[in-house]
Amino acid sequence: MLSMKITVNGQEKVFESSLSLENLIENLSQNKDHVIAELNGNIIKSSKWLSTAISDGDAIELVTFVGGG
């Protein structure tokens, strides 16, 4: 397949093969506990990560909890 260009947390990423959201998170985040994912503005529950395919042009946000007042 052709390479796929996506945006993760505002950064452009290129992948050479198809992947699921689960694969992507495992690939980019060393600890997926407490990660929350948004795909093109829609929250994706962690139970759906494996069945959610990433497509060319997708914008993904991966967030977690940090210290704050």
């Binding site: 985040s29 600890n31 407490h34 929250i43 991966l62 977690t64 909890f65 940090v66 210290g67 007042g69």
Partner: protein, 269 residues
């Protein structure tokens, strides 16, 4: 009564109640600016806090970032703030993301447009409160103290109102005292004073005038010994609370002797 019964005396206070949950500790701890997560865990323990605020941020793709949640005991309420939101819509988005994590539906709405003074935008906060309260969130809005805004927030479904004492992180103390007093007087929801409290004496003063709780972050996290500072704030908040419910007498302009003015040794009748 003998002196070993202080638990009975303190039991005369009723717990702080927010959205049906009861809290005996009236100190809310912010979790930002700590040098490391263990220091935060120590502060949670030393202060006895039952509510902590956290923020939501993009994960760092370059290095392994660890969530702060493992350092927060399970029985402590996680109050996610919407920091970074510049309008109601962004605050709503952050709150919905936080809820997805499964650690509760408590949200501190914080909408800020101004980078110099970091003052909250009350109008956008009201809009976000309307949306999130209708979605079942427990909403604790952070505001610039203003009676009309507070009333609108309660009408919109806010569980509390959180007025700022002074600018975030400034340690200036209770600059907005007179305006917070009005909120304490007029509002039926708990008033949690947030931002700017830089010393336990300021926290005690806030509680003495009838605030229901105080939130502190910077003064604890950036002190030389955060666990001790957290304990000091917690004690001051409890002291201020007890002083408030004991209804201290008013200030007078002239002296009023503490010892009896009769029966002096040198009196000749």
């Amino acid at each position: 009564m003998q002196g070993n019964n202080s638990n009975h005396i303190i039991a005369q206070d009723h717990p702080l109640e927010i959205a049906g949950k009861k809290f005996t500790n009236r100190f809310l701890l912010g979790t930002g600016k700590f040098k490391n997560k263990q220091e935060l865990a120590d502060c949670i323990q030393s202060s006895g806090t039952q509510i902590v605020t956290v923020a939501l941020r993009r994960i760092d793709l370059e290095q392994s970032g660890e969530s702060i949640l493992p350092y927060i005991p399970k029985d402590v309420i996680i109050l996610t703030n919407t920091s970074g939101a510049r309008n109601a819509q962004e605050a709503v988005r952050i709150a919905r993301l936080a809820k997805e994590s499964g650690c509760g539906n408590w949200v501190k709405i914080e909408v800020i447009n101004d980078s110099k003074y970091l003052l909250p935008d009350n109008n956008e906060t009201i809009k976000a409160t309307e949306i999130l309260a209708s979605e079942g969130f427990v909403v604790l809005p952070y505001i610039t103290p203003d009676l009309y805004a507070a009333r609108a927030l309660v009408k919109a479904g806010a569980a509390t109102v959180m007025p700022l004492a002074s600018l975030i992180g400034s340690n200036q103390g209770l600059k907005a005292k007179e305006f917070i007093k009005i909120l304490i007087e007029e509002m039926d929801v708990p008033i949690i004073v947030d931002a700017g409290i830089g010393a336990p004496s300021q926290a005690a003063e806030t509680m003495e005038m009838g605030a229901d709780a105080v939130l502190v972050n910077t003064a604890v996290a950036t002190s030389a010994n955060p666990a001790l500072a957290a304990k000091a704030f917690s004690l001051a908040i409890e002291a201020g609370r007890l002083a408030y419910i004991s209804r201290l007498p008013k200030q007078k302009d002239i002296a009023d002797a503490s010892s009896p003015l009769t029966g002096f040794l040198f009196e000749i009748s």
